[in-house]
């Protein structure tokens, strides 16, 4: 399955630079963020691959590296029972990536959560609002510079 995947991807996307990492029996794919929608559409529809289940979308904050964030997609193929992990690097200066919610509807809320927690904007997302924190909240909690105890007074408490 891994060889089939590598073969098909490299044949279809000749302009994209892929990096295959295998660790702990899992396969991770790294590539440039501009190709994300095309690659995901290909992975979903192509015979033999059929990654129809989007399990999770999240982001990692590397804090000191040049590309500060990395957006991670976990997708699963129910036919082939194979799990794949896609990673794209996002820089802080241009904190946005294309949304894949047009391909899998399950990605909708996961991307909203990533936006709420990290501040990464997803372009062409049908409904990009905050997920957990109230709408008036100004910060993004899971960024490394946000303190664990929060900023006092950020969300008001009712009076006694």
């Amino acid at each position: 399955m891994k060889e089939l995947l590598k073969e098909k991807l490299e044949k279809q996307f000749t302009t994209v630079q892929f990096e295959f990492i295998e660790q702990f029996d899992e396969l991770t794919l790294k590539f440039d963020k501009s190709a994300i929608v095309n690659i995901c559409a290909f992975l979903k529809d192509e015979d033999g691959l059929k990654f129809n289940f989007c399990e999770d979308i999240t982001a990692i904050d590397w804090a000191t590296r040049k590309n500060r964030f990395a957006v991670v997609y976990h997708i699963f193929s129910m036919e082939n029972k194979f799990r794949l992990c896609l990673k794209v690097d996002v820089d802080e200066s241009e904190c946005s990536v294309e949304s894949v919610s047009s391909i899998w509807k399950a990605a909708n809320w996961a991307e909203r959560e990533a936006y709420d927690m990290y501040g990464i904007t997803f372009l062409n997302h049908p409904d990009l609002r905050r997920m957990y924190m109230p709408e008036e909240f100004e910060y993004h909690p899971l960024r490394k510079e946000y303190p664990l105890m929060g900023i006092p007074g950020a969300i008001p408490l009712p009076k006694k």
């Binding site: 109230p134 946000y146 105890m149 969300i155 408490l157 009712p158 006694k160």
Partner: protein
Amino acid sequence: MGLESKLINDGFFTTTIDALAAWARESSVWPMPMGISCCAIEMMASGDPKYDISRFGSEVMRFTPRQCDLMIVAGTVTYKMAHVVKKIFDQMPEPKWVIAMGACTSTGGMYRSYNVVQGIDQFLPVDIYAAGCPPRPENLLNALMQIQEKIGKTRVKDFPDPPHISHETKQADLSLSKN
């Protein structure tokens, strides 16, 4: 409240009615289960056939605050939820009591994070804190019994009438000539 507030003299007759009213109140405490997270499951378990809560008079766990006198805040209260809890507490009629069930409501519990209120006594007047994570149903029943004891000691003079607010009704301006 109502009839008894008229009986302010400490005669034999009125103290008996007083004690009777307090006994009636303590034997039928209707809790308002503010079940938010894991402690709510233990609160449900205290209502199941093994740890029956209805033998204490709390058979009726109404989910509407207008008919309850005890609010059991069970679960972690976050900043977003705090406004909701306060709103529901305000909707309960007097006299009312609060049990802070579990560690999360007492002091924030094991969640020392940006979104958890470190103790609901920052915005609610709490009567009994039940410790545990979650407290066993027997623990909750113990807290309920202590509330019953507390209620049994109350007398009419503890519940003063609310301050009289005069509602000045404005005359509707129905005159034809409006300037």
